[in-house]
């Protein structure tokens, strides 16, 4: 066989800064709000293999049985190769929607299949909703903190993002009510309210039933759309199941976003949106323009997987694994974080949100932590206005229990150094004793400007 030259990995040549300026003149206005930052550069380092990363939002895909994967792919190859390699409908296959109905049914929802669109991951569902609803300058309300991955999407559609504080019962709907009244007085109407009501990313908190009811009522009374993002609903490790907003509302004012990423695999990039028919019509057009259809191959994969009728058992297995990991992380936090630190105790999902004393900036702490080979997400990533700088998001699903213990120990060590140093600088006595008793479920959110 003739020798093939090794491909170069480098991008094609391009010239100097003059060219950059030439391009810059062509950039859309929206790129002006797509910012890169020193913090993002720091996050690039978390990929080093020696770093224990509690920064990701990764489910543990190593638990998925390879034999099962192989069998499904083999069946697809043998029985439906031509179809699985072909384009599919923009809305997604009916069979995929059947799987979605099963997943939503497990949380008590029963949408009309015609209201569903299969998307390339949950992230595309967020993007399509924004594309459909947001004009530049439109108000969008989300939680404080909010899903860090939603911020670039909202910003790229030039939304005016307003964040409503959370506490241990999720978004403070009473604060939202006041905000809505204030906006109304200014003649502004938010396009939608984005919420992750269950096991929120990044805070780990869950919206109470009372607030869920109130939010749905508000939406109805004021004819506002609520976008309910529910990637983690089935990953519950304690407490009572909570009805999704979609179920409480019946789907008139709630757009529901779901995903297979956390219950099966993020690599297959399969998510979905459920919306009232007029909204869905526009979303479908947007999807068509974006990528014509979601990967046919992975839709076949999900269909085969669900046909084995074991998906719920797999979720149960994940729940067991993640519950242990959450407990390990909580225990490690109690053992290693200073007494002034607070953190959430999530009943499910993938994340814990920890808040440190006011004098510790978690972006700076990350630089120190990276030298100790451990990473987390600095809280600022979850705000649009620079708040959150004393908090961090910790993921407990992507690494094993030993790594969680070691990772938290390393973070605790760099925090302790900061605490001690601050004490030396101010003459204040730090509280060196790690807390002994179980931490109360205090939510550490602080408002901007509020003293610690």
């Amino acid at each position: 066989m003739a020798e093939v030259p090794e491909p170069t990995h480098r991008r094609r040549s391009h010239a100097g800064t003059r060219d950059l300026e030439r391009y810059a003149g062509l950039f859309a206005e929206r790129t002006g709000v797509m910012r890169s930052s020193a913090m993002r550069d720091l996050m690039a380092i978390t990929a080093r293999p020696e770093v224990i990363s509690l920064a990701g939002g990764l489910p543990d895909t190593s638990t998925f049985p390879p034999q099962s994967f192989a069998a499904q792919m083999t069946r697809i190859a043998q029985e439906s190769a031509a179809k699985a390699l072909q384009y599919g409908p923009t809305e997604g296959f009916e069979e995929t929607k059947d799987c979605i109905l099963e997943v939503m049914g497990a949380e008590g929802m029963l949408p009309d299949p015609d209201d569903i669109i299969v998307t390339t991951g949950g992230q595309q569902a967020i993007d399509l909703v924004c594309k459909t609803l947001i004009d530049p300058g439109d108000v969008v309300i989300c939680e404080a903190p909010t899903y860090p991955g939603a911020i670039p999407t909202l910003c790229s559609y030039q939304a005016d993002v307003v964040q409503v504080e959370c506490d241990e019962d999720g978004m403070q709907v009473e604060v939202l009510e006041q905000l809505l009244a204030d906006l109304r007085a200014e003649g502004r109407r938010p396009k939608f309210i984005y919420s992750v009501p269950s096991f929120q990313n990044p805070a780990g908190v869950t919206m109470s039933l009372e607030r869920r009811r109130r939010l749905v009522e508000l939406a109805r009374a004021q004819e506002l759309l609520v976008v309910e993002d529910n990637p983690y609903g089935l990953l519950r490790y304690g407490g009572e199941p909570m009805p999704p907003l979609y179920q409480l509302d019946g789907g008139d004012f709630v757009i529901y976003l779901g995903t297979f990423s956390k219950i099966l695999s993020p690599g297959i990039r399969l998510g979905w949106a459920v919306a009232p028919p007029p909204v869905m019509e526009k979303i479908v057009l947007g999807k068509q323009a974006a990528d014509l259809c979601t990967s046919t191959l992975t839709q076949y994969f999900v269909r085969e997987y669900f046909a084995e009728r074991r998906w719920q058992r797999y979720v149960d297995d994940l729940v067991e694994i993640y519950r242990r990991r959450r407990d390990t992380m909580l225990e490690s936090l109690r053992d290693n974080f200073p007494a002034e630190a607070t953190w959430t105790e999530p009943e499910g999902g993938l994340f814990i949100w920890a808040t440190l004393p006011d004098y510790i900036d978690t972006s700076d702490l990350l630089a120190k932590a990276l030298r100790a080979d451990v990473a987390f997400v600095p809280g600022q990533a979850a705000y649009v206005d620079g708040r959150g700088s004393h908090s961090m998001r910790l993921n407990f699903s992507g690494v094993n229990e030993d790594e969680i213990r070691e990772g938290v120990r390393r973070i605790g060590k760099v925090i302790a150094e900061q605490v001690e140093l601050y004490g030396a600088l101010t003459g204040e006595q730090p509280l060196p004793e790690p807390r002994q008793e179980t931490a109360p479920n205090v939510l550490p959110f602080r408002k901007a400007g509020e003293a610690g």
């Binding site: 010239a15 900061q418 140093l421 600088l425």
Partner: protein
């Protein structure tokens, strides 16, 4: 010529370094050189010994690549490399050392005090803070002694903000400095060989001027090349920059950052290996001088091979 491009490494500026490196590799290839890209790790020496490059292009920023560590290895291995020597890199990287050298050369640099963590942890240096705050005045600037970009640099507007700023700065280095804030125009003078390139001015467009992060975001800061300076200002600025370059023993290239105040230039720091990405200041300055990126790279290679540079 076989050129090893050293990039990446473990520094906090790994991301920028990878971008600088990729761009240099492109240019080297277009110039017809054989390129050996190396993401610097534990196998660095083995690879250099095995591959025997004619020259190493150091496109690393921050600790490890810009502080003389890699340069020292290259000197030991006898491989010529781009940019300043190991000793000069070490001096530039450490702001305290650099400021000492600048002051010894009779050049103006804002008044400062330096501390290491031990001073605060064990010797009660906090008790001296009040006195030096009085000397420096507010706002003052707190910086890690060794660190790149804006990482860990904080303004303190009052005594109450100093401890927190110190905790931030100490996140990046065991030694920090507190520096008098000089108000003025922010200029960068890149020097290639012994020639100052057109001066770049950074103009903050929006946001808090005490927010250092804004300075490095496209769209929030505008860079004017060449800066709008009078002949007199230009002379003062380039002379001060060249003086600094020489005082620090730089060869090849470096970028000198300074403030042009009412009373003339105040030297802040020298970057031994400034960024080489498409938005970095050295390439912009070179371009304003009529040098394409390839020409810039070629010139940097020539300088590295000049016997005087060794």
């Amino acid at each position: 010529m076989k050129v090893a491009v050293l990039k990446g490494g473990r520094s906090l500026e790994r991301g920028v370094s990878l971008r600088s490196g990729a761009r240099v590799e492109d240019a080297l290839e277009r110039l017809g050189h054989e390129v050996l890209p190396i993401d610097v790790g534990p196998d660095l020496v083995k690879r250099l010994v095995g591959e025997q490059p004619d020259l190493a292009f150091v496109a690393m920023h921050g600790v490890g690549g810009e502080d003389g560590t890699v340069q020292e290895l290259l000197e030991i291995l006898g491989i010529p490399f781009t940019g300043p020597s190991a000793a000069a890199c070490a001096r530039c990287m450490d702001k305290v050392q650099a400021k000492d050298a600048i002051e010894d050369a009779g050049l103006p640099t804002p008044h400062w005090f330096a501390f290491n963590q031990t001073a605060f942890r064990e010797f009660g240096a906090a008790d001296a803070l009040g006195r030096l705050e009085e000397t420096l005045g507010f706002p003052l600037v707190v910086k890690p002694s060794r660190g790149g970009s804006s990482l860990g640099v904080r303004f303190a507007r009052s005594a109450g903000e100093v401890p927190q700023a110190l905790v931030s700065a100490f996140s990046y280095d065991d030694r920090v400095l507190l520096e008098r804030f000089v108000d003025g125009r922010e200029l960068a003078v890149s020097i290639l060989g012994d020639e100052p390139l057109p001066v770049v001015e950074a103009i903050l467009l929006e946001g808090d001027r005490y927010d250092f992060e804004a300075r490095y975001e496209i769209g929030r800061t505008r860079f004017d090349v060449p800066a709008d300076l009078t002949a007199e200002e230009h002379r003062a600025v380039t002379e001060a920059a060249l003086g600094t370059y020489r005082a620090l023993g730089c060869t090849g290239f470096a970028r000198i950052d300074l403030i042009l105040g009412e009373d003339g230039p105040w030297l802040l720091e020298a970057n031994a290996i400034p960024g080489l990405t498409d938005t970095s200041l050295l390439p912009q300055a070179a371009e304003a001088a009529g040098l394409s990126f390839e020409q810039l790279v070629e010139r940097i290679l020539d300088l590295a091979l000049e016997p005087a540079a060794a």
